[in-house]
C-alpha cells in the first residue's frame, strides 16, 4: 500500500451513504442514563439497600442478574440507583463551568486590557495544575462532601472553557458588526449578550458536553478513592472500588460501573462533537 504524503481531502459526513449506527445509539444511551438518574429509585427491581449477609458476594444468578455484593445487596439495583450521584454532580459542574466560563471568557475577550490579562493569567496558572490531585488533597484534608466537590471541580475545570470562549470572543470582537453596534452606542452588556453570545453559541454548546465528560471522569475517580460521596452509598465510582476487591467472586460488580462510566463519557463527547459540527455548519450557511 502506498502512502501519499498529500492526503486526499476527507469526505464530508453528508456524502457517506449509510449513517453510522452510533448516530442513534449514543443519544439513546445518554437518554437511558438520564432516565436512570431521574427515575432510578422507581426503576430499581429490588431495594438497593436490602442486605442478605447469608448470601454474600456472588456471581449473576436468578433474582440477581448482575450478582450481589459482599453484604448480599443486589448489584443491578445499586447500579441503577447509583446513576443519580454519578451523573448529577458532573451536570452541576458542567453548568457551573458553562456559566462562569462564558462570563469570564466574554469579559476578557471583549474588554481586553488589564481585566483580560488577569483572567488569562489566572486561567494559565489553573490550567497547569493537576486538577484531580488538587481535588484529592483538598477534599481529603479539609474533609468536604458532595457540594464542596462540585464547587472545587468547577474552579479547577474552568480554565479550559475560559480559554475557548475568550478566543472565540476575540475573533468575533474584531468583526465589523461589533464596531457597528458600538458606533450606534449600544451598551457593552447588550453587545456581549445579544450580538456576540449567539455567534459563539456552537462553542458554548460543545464545551458543555466536553466539561460534562471531564467532570464525570473526575467525579467517579474521586468517589473511587472514597472522596466526595458518603461511604457505603450506591455510586458508580464507589461500587467500582468495592467491586474491584471482589473481582474473583463477582466480576460484574466492578465491570458494569466501569463500562457505564466509559460509555457515558464517550457518548457525551461524540454527541458534543456532532452538535458542534452541525452548529458551525448552520452558522456558516446563514
Amino acid at each position: 500500500m502506498t502512502i501519499g504524503v498529500n492526503p486526499p481531502p476527507a469526505k464530508p459526513d453528508t456524502l457517506r451513504k449509510r449513517p453510522s449506527p452510533l448516530r442513534f445509539a449514543l443519544p439513546a444511551l445518554l437518554a437511558v442514563v438520564a432516565l436512570l438518574a431521574v427515575f432510578g429509585a422507581e426503576l430499581a427491581p429490588q431495594d438497593p439497600d436490602a442486605q442478605n449477609p447469608a448470601l454474600g458476594a456472588g456471581p449473576p444468578g436468578p433474582g440477581h442478574p448482575l450478582g450481589t455484593d459482599v453484604l448480599g445487596r443486589d448489584v443491578l439495583s445499586r447500579l441503577i440507583v447509583g446513576t443519580f450521584p454519578a451523573v448529577a454532580g458532573p451536570v452541576c459542574v458542567a453548568i457551573g463551568v458553562l456559566v462562569a466560563g462564558t462570563l469570564l471568557g466574554l469579559l476578557g475577550g471583549y474588554h481586553g486590557g488589564r481585566i483580560d490579562a488577569v483572567i488569562a493569567r489566572g486561567a494559565d496558572i489553573l490550567y497547569s495544575m493537576p486538577a484531580l490531585l488538587v481535588a484529592i488533597v483538598v477534599i481529603g484534608t479539609v474533609g468536604g462532601g458532595y457540594l464542596l466537590t462540585i464547587g472545587l471541580l468547577i474552579v479547577l475545570t474552568l480554565p479550559g472553557t475560559v480559554r475557548l470562549i475568550r478566543s472565540a470572543t476575540l475573533s468575533q470582537a474584531r468583526l465589523p458588526y461589533v464596531d457597528a453596534a458600538r458606533a450606534m452606542g449600544v451598551r457593552p452588556g447588550w453587545i456581549l449578550g445579544r450580538h456576540i453570545l449567539p455567534n459563539i453559541m456552537p462553542t458554548v454548546v460543545a464545551t458543555f458536553l466536553l466539561e460534562f465528560t471531564t467532570a464525570l471522569v473526575s467525579f467517579s475517580a474521586l468517589s473511587f478513592l472514597g472522596l466526595g460521596v458518603a461511604p457505603g452509598a450506591a455510586d458508580w465510582g464507589t461500587m467500582l472500588a468495592d467491586g474491584q476487591e471482589l473481582i474473583f467472586e463477582n466480576p460484574m460488580m466492578s465491570l458494569t460501573p466501569a463500562l457505564l462510566i466509559v460509555l457515558t463519557a464517550v457518548g457525551a463527547t461524540l454527541v458534543g462533537d456532532r452538535l458542534y459540527d452541525r452548529a458551525t455548519l448552520a452558522t456558516e450557511a446563514r
Partner: protein, 316 residues
C-alpha cells in the same frame, strides 16, 4: 535567550511561592487545630506539644508560621510523618521507585505507540484506518485509568491467571507486574498524543516544502522523518505538560487499582490518615515537577523553533 529563560524561571518561582502558601494553609483549613492535625489524634506529653509548637511556631501569627515553614521547606525539611515517624521526605523516598518505574514504562509505551499511530492516521486522513484511530482516541480519552485497569485485571488476572496485584520482586518480575498498570495508564496518554500528532501532521503535510519535497522525488521515509516529523515536533512537545499532569493524576488511580506501593498510594493513605507533613511534601514535590516540566517544554520549544525566542508564545 537568557532573558527568556530568566523570565520563565521567575514566573515558575512565583508560581511555586503561591502554591506553597496554599499548601501551608491546608494545615489551618483542616478540621481541628493545626496542633491536633500534627499530633494525628495521638496522646502526647506536654514536652512533645511544646516541641511541636516551637517547631511550627504555632504561638506566632499565621504569616510568621508560613515564613518559618517555607524556610524549612526550601531546605527540604517538611517535618516528620505522623504514620511512620520518619521524615516526610524519607517516606516519599520509600515509595518513589515504583512510581518512577511505572512512569518510565508508561512514557515508553506512550511514545512508541502514540506518535507512529498519530502519524499513520494523519497520513491516511479520512480513510477507514484514520476514522477508526480517531474513534479509538475519543474512547481512550474518555476511559479513566481505573476503569481500564479493572478491565485488564479481569481479562488477564481472572481470565489468564497473570499476576495483577502488587509490585512483585525486582528485575523481570517487577516488569511483569508493572506492564498491566502501565498499559492502563498509557491509554489516556496515547489518545492525547495520537490526536495531537495527527493534527500536527495534517497541518504540516499541507505546507509547500512538503509538496516540493514530494515533487523533487524524495523518498517517502525521508520526507516523513526530515520534513513532516520535525515540523510537527513543536505541537507534540507542547503536549508534554498535559501528559505529565495526566500521568501524575493517573498514577494515583492506577496504583490504587493494582495495589502498587508507589507515590499515589502514599498520597491516598496520607490523605486518609491526615498525615499533614507528608501531604505538604507531596504537594510541593508535584508542584516542582509541574513547574520544571513546563520550563523544560519551553526550552525545548525554543530549540525547535528559534522564532519563539522573541517571547511570542504560539502554544495555546
Amino acid at each position: 535567550m537568557t532573558g527568556f529563560v530568566l523570565r520563565r524561571l521567575a514566573a515558575g518561582g512565583g508560581l511555586l511561592v503561591a502554591v506553597s502558601f496554599l499548601i501551608f494553609s491546608l494545615l489551618h483549613l483542616a478540621p481541628g487545630s493545626p496542633l491536633t492535625s500534627l499530633l494525628g489524634g495521638q496522646d502526647a506529653s506536654d514536652e512533645q506539644i511544646a516541641a511541636l509548637v516551637r517547631e511550627y511556631r504555632l504561638d506566632e501569627p499565621f504569616l510568621v508560621q508560613y515564613g518559618s515553614w517555607l524556610a524549612r521547606a526550601v531546605q527540604l525539611d517538611f517535618g516528620r510523618s505522623i504514620l511512620s515517624h520518619t521524615s516526610a521526605l524519607a517516606r516519599i523516598g520509600e515509595f518513589a521507585p515504583v512510581s518512577a518505574q511505572l512512569a518510565a514504562l508508561t512514557l515508553v509505551i506512550t511514545v512508541l505507540v502514540g506518535i507512529p499511530l498519530g502519524m499513520a492516521a494523519g497520513l491516511r486522513r479520512g480513510r477507514a484506518a484514520d476514522r477508526l484511530t480517531s474513534f479509538a482516541a475519543v474512547v481512550g480519552m474518555s476511559s479513566p485509568p481505573f476503569a481500564t485497569g479493572v478491565l485488564l485485571i479481569y481479562v488477564f488476572g481472572v481470565g489468564l491467571g497473570a499476576p495483577v496485584f502488587g509490585a512483585g520482586g525486582a528485575g523481570l518480575d517487577r516488569l511483569r507486574h508493572l506492564i498491566l498498570p502501565a498499559v492502563a495508564l498509557s491509554i489516556v496518554l496515547i489518545a492525547i498524543v495520537v490526536r495531537q500528532t495527527r493534527a500536527a501532521v495534517l497541518d504540516t503535510c499541507r505546507q509547500d516544502h512538503v509538496v516540493f519535497g514530494h515533487a523533487r522525488g524524495l523518498r517517502i521515509s525521508r520526507i516523513l522523518t526530515r520534513y513532516v516529523l520535525r515540523n510537527s515536533a513543536l505541537p507534540i512537545v507542547n503536549t508534554v505538560g498535559i501528559l505529565v499532569i495526566q500521568l501524575a493524576a493517573g498514577t494515583v488511580l492506577v496504583e490504587s487499582v493494582f495495589s502498587l506501593p508507589g507515590i499515589g498510594t502514599l498520597m491516598v493513605n496520607s490523605v486518609e490518615a491526615k498525615d499533614m507533613p507528608v501531604i505538604q511534601a507531596l504537594g510541593m514535590l508535584i508542584a516542582v515537577v509541574v513547574v520544571l516540566t513546563n520550563l523544560l517544554v519551553d526550552l525545548v520549544s525554543i530549540m525547535i523553533d528559534p522564532r519563539l525566542r522573541l517571547g511570542v508564545r504560539t502554544s495555546p
